[in-house]
Each structure stands twice: as C-alpha cells, then as structure tokens.
Amino acid sequence: MNIKNLHLLNFKNYAAIDLYFDEGINCFVGNNGEGKTNLLDAIYYLSMCKSYFNFIDSQNVKHGEHFFLIKGTIHDHDKEDEIYCGFKINQGKVFKKNGKEYQRLSDHIGSFPCVMISPTDINLVWQGSDDRRKLIDSIISQFDGEYLDNLIQYNKALAQRNAQLKRFAANRYFDAVELELWDDIIVPLGNKIYESRLAFLAEFVPVFNNYYKFLSDAKETVGIEYETNLKPNEYRQILNEAIEKDRALQYTSVGIHKDDLSFTINEYQLKKQGSQGQQKSFLIAIKLAQFEYIKNKKGIKPILLLDDVFDKLDQSRVSRLMTLVSEDTFGQIFVTDTHQERIENIFNEIKVKVRIFPVKNGAV
C-alpha cells in the first residue's frame, strides 16, 4: 500500500501544495521550522484522523485561516481510494472516502495504517505509566473492538468504584456490599483485559527483541516486562486484599489500570542507565515491532513515517536501520532530515534509490 499524492490547503504552515510520491523511499529535507514534519503529520492525519503531535484540530489550521483540507490518493494492489479530510473551525471535521462521508471516524482508522517514529516518542520512556498503557491499548484496540469496549466499560465502573470509596470517606461509613456491586463488573472485564495484554505482549516482545538486536548489532540485550499486581483468576482476591488501602487512599490501588511496562537494557532500567542513542534505538524497535504486528494482522504494509531518526543515532545504527526499512518487508517510507548530503550518502552506500523533496518555508 502506498500514498500516491498529497494535497494540502491551509494545513499548519502550508497554504496550498500538491505532492506526488514514489512507492519506495521519500525524503523531506530542509532546515528547522520549514515544515518537514508537518508533511509527515498530514499523512498520519489521513491514516488516523488526528495529528500525531497536536490533538486540538483548530491549532493545526494555518494562522489566520478558518479551515484546512488534506487530500490523498491511496493505492493498494489495483485499487485507488481518495481520502479527504476537511476541518472548519467551529464546525468540526469531515472524513470522506471517494466522496462518501464516513458515519464514524473509527470506520476509517485502521483501513490505511501507518506507523510514525518521532523524537516525541521519548515520552514513553520518561513519562508515567499512562503513556505506556496507551501504547499497548491503542495497538490492541485497532484490531480488537471487543478489547476497546471492555476497556471503556472497565474505566466507567472503576470511576464509580472510586466515587463510592470517596463517599465512604465523606459520610464516614463502610459497606462492603456497595463496593462489591462495582467489583462484580470490574473483575470479569479486568480479567479479559489482563489476558489480552498478556497474549499481546507474548507475541510482541520477541519481535521487538529481534529488531533491537539487529539495530544494535547484538551489542546489548533489552527487555520489555509486563508489570502488574494481578495474577490469573485472582482479580477479586487482589481487590479484596487492597480494601483497607483503597479506603485510606479513596481510590482503587490495584487492577489493570495500574499496569505498566518496564523497559530494561542489559538488565538495568532504560530510563536511568540507557544512553540517549540506546533509548532512541529502543523506541524505534518498539515502533518497528508495531509495524510488523499491524502487517501480520492486516495483511498490508503500513506506511512508515520516520521523523528525524538520524539524530542521536551513530552511523552504524543509522545505516542498519535504513538497510532494514529498504527491504521488502517494508513498504513506502517517508523520512525527514536537515542534511540533504547526509541522506544521499546513506542511501548511496546501501544502494537504494530515494526521492528527495527539498522543503523550504511551507513549499516543496
């Protein structure tokens, strides 16, 4: 699958632009602030119905304008689909495929998958467990609607359980029956979510390990560990054991909403012991594993968006990464960089044809 052309109107720093892409590797080169990443984001937008960087649509409109428009032609086998996204301030956004409007955005998401690798991914290492849970939740729910439903229901019941704990404290009483009402919803849902996460990681982590091994030339060993206070079929017991603590905290201290992933490098914490380059390699390996997961589930190669990947990586890792993504396992690729020469050299060395797009102040 590949995107053949992209048409932008008033999107971020672009007034109007028409671009035609190669099926292989496309590079946007230019100085800081010229709009390289915005082009990647426009492609991401067509895929996921939102920006990778800024979820507030109105802030993605060019300054002084009232709407933006993104249009692209997606080519897959012998089929061509035109995806249209229009956003008007105060009127919301409209997504169309071949002129027909989608009833729900979720019907579109996943039909034209892409994976973005960006410097902001470092949040996964540095921020709280919330970001890491979101990562696995978003990958699983793209292919498992039931998982998403369970998660939404779980969060609703959890909010009620927490409100109940606060009520106990405010009114100075306790009644186990009133809490169990919500446990009865939380336990079966939590169990299902827990099992799904276990199954997903069992599939995901080995793929991730392979990619990291390749990138680092097997110099380091890395790990992703599922951190949870749960055990199979003991959800209710674990909730019951935490009751005293939960009553004091006035919220539920155990459950799948407290799950985390621990990232390690050579058995130490990645956050504390990993260098910036190692952390970056780690995140790239996660995204490549995500790519492979989507490819296996969907049977199509997602578009790969590489934003500023050369920064912080050493020469050997850069060239390994580029060799890897130029292989047949990967499809269409978009790369941004500040140095045209560097990128030409890298691809010359591995003898891969690339198309260079110089980007300057909202024009290509």
């Binding site: 439903d149 229901q153 609703k156 019941a157 909010a159 009620q160 359980r161 409100a163 109940q164 606060k166 009520r167 009644d175 029956v177 009133e178 009402l181 919500w182 009865d184 919803i185």
Partner: protein, 206 residues
Amino acid sequence: MDINSNRLIEAAVTEFGQLPGIGRKTALRFVLYLLKQKPEDVEQFGSTFIRLRNEIKYCINCNNISEKHLCEICSNTKRDRTVVCVVEDIRDVFAIENTNQFNGVYHVLGGIINPMEGIGPKDINVENLVVRVGQDEIKEIIMALSATMEGDTTVFYIFKRLKDFDIKFTTIARGVSVGDDLEYADEVTLGRSILHRIPYENTLVK
C-alpha cells in the same frame, strides 16, 4: 423604576432562574410578562404552584406522586397487586402507563445507584420494596430501569436483596426497537438480541 421595584424584579428573576433550563434572560421575559397580566391571573398562577407543592404527597406504598396516602394506582382494586414494576422515577410510571400494557402496581425508586452523582444504595427507595415483598402477596417483580451500567448495577443490587424471597424476578426485554431496520441497530444491542433470543411462539399475540 425606583430601587424597591427593581429589587422585586430582581428577586422574581432569581426565582425563575432556578428552574432547570431557564437562564436570566428568559427569566426576565417571564417576569415582565407576568407584570403585564391582571393581578388575579397572576394570583391564580402563583397559588397553583403553592397548592401543587403543599397538596401533592408521595404514596406510602409505592412512592408515586399522589393526592392521598395511597396513589390512584395502588388504591385501584382492579389492578393486579401480585405484580410490581420497579422504575427509576415518576416519569417512567407515566411512560409505562401510556403503553396500556401493564395492569400491575409500581414501585418508584427515586433514583438509581450512581456514586459519581452521590447516590448510593441507601439513597434510593429499596428498603420499602423489601418490606413490601415480605408483607404483600407479591409474585413477580419486573425491573424496568435504564439499560446503562448504573441501571444494571441497581437491578443486580435489588436482585441480591430479594434473592431469598419466593418470587419471580424479571427484567424488561432489551433489543431491536419495534419498526427498526436491523442494519441500523447498533452492534451491542443486536449482539445482545441474538444472545438473548426468545422462542417465536412467545411473540405471537394470544
């Protein structure tokens, strides 16, 4: 306008403004409208609400609104007292009455369990229901609550409270709306309808 009348208008606007869905501008329109009416008409208007508040009581049996101790439904001898329909509030009584399909009596909970809104099991009228089931000749309880997580939780709570009584405990059917095309039914509803399908014979009008 002198300050005194201003204050009266201000007070009246504040009162109207307390009604749900009424802002200050609409409240002022109401007040100015009432000012233009004949004094006796406005007196009638006001006394209607005073009487409403003073004379309407809640049925001691089912918690429905009533002018006497027992509401019209509970005191009607033609209604089947062995079947009790449990609803969230009085609006649901009206809704079910309008169907003309129910000849039993009601029990109005006055809310459903929703800790986020500050409503726990003790804040709704469940104790009375338990007493009723223990005393009266009730054979069936029909739960007619909203199909939300909070509604389901309330049904489950009442089910637990009544499980030791020898009664039939039922809940209203959930599924595709009458007159709806299947393709427009949402997935969750349709999925449940398949899961909880019923023998066709039961749907035939007897």
